[in-house]
Amino acid sequence: MDFNKGLKDGIPVALGYFSVSIAFGLMAIENECSALEAVLISVTNLTSAGQFAGVTVLAAMGTYVEMAMTQLVINSRYSLMAISLSQKVDGKFRGIWKWLLGFAITDEIFAVAIGHDGSISKEYFSGLISLPILGWSAGTLFGAVLGNIMPEIITTSLGIALYGMFIAVVVPKARENRHVLITVILAIIISTVIRYVPVFSGISAGFAIIISAVIASVAGAVFFPVKEAE
């Protein structure tokens, strides 16, 4: 039952992933990867920004250290998500299951899991990640093989689906809880400042997210500490 619920909740994520990974497949081919290599990257990494950056390093034949550092910087937000998620999983979701399923913690899967009522079982999480993994890999293959014959208006429209899902998680919570609203606005202000103020132009997109989220959440924890029940 829990698995099926997870499968269903994963459908919008899978659709969004399919469309975004088409763009990745296209980009990988343009950077001298074969379709097989593009799909291998998607199956083993399951992350958008990290893969795009990784293929850039690959195409430039950068060093392995450079590759590792790029992934570390762009993807370290997943560590925050993993810790946050570890507080929401039930007692049976531990040990080997965490090692096995932890690889699929992505922005969108995290967003859905956090929005899920109650604790998260390994069955629910397994269901939740199944279709998105399939969608991400299939979209990559599709993009690598056929991407350049798709009308651009379709790919650009689908590309916003992922942001739509983030908004669907944040807005209802911010509406019901004023403290969440204030910390969210603070995070947006910081990320906007980092983006547009020239002094901060050296900060990568991945780091900008971490800095914004950490400062805003610390402020939230200081000014609006939550009670045990929340």
Partner: protein
């Protein structure tokens, strides 16, 4: 690309990304009791998602106008309390329509 050149890069890329996710997930096993940490972790999902969305969403389509249309429609539908799929479909449709209009106008 030559497979033998490719595979070590793939290994580094996938390995680092995997450890970033799995290590903290596995290592944090207990419920965190510290009130400050709990509060911090309570806000993290929403601040991470918000910082990821804005201002990046403005550059997610071909024209900023269609992105703003998608953003506005998504916020409106989400405010009405609709689920993930409906919000996502609404945002995509808004972008599609806006891009169509822009194509016709220009």
């Amino acid at each position: 690309m030559d497979m033998l050149t490719f595979l070590p890069y793939l290994l580094v890329m996938a390995g680092v990304t995997y450890l970033i996710r799995a290590l903290p997930f596995v290592l944090v096993n207990k419920k965190i009791e510290n009130r400050f940490l709990n509060s911090f972790l309570y806000y993290i999902p929403y601040t991470v998602l918000a910082a990821m969305t804005f201002p990046a969403i403005l550059y997610g389509t071909n024209h900023m106008i269609s992105a703003i249309a998608g953003l506005a429609v998504a916020v409106f539908i989400a405010y009405k309390g609709k689920g993930l799929l409906i919000v996502a479909v609404g945002a995509c449709s808004a972008v599609f329509v806006a891009e169509l209009v822009l194509m016709v106008v220009r």
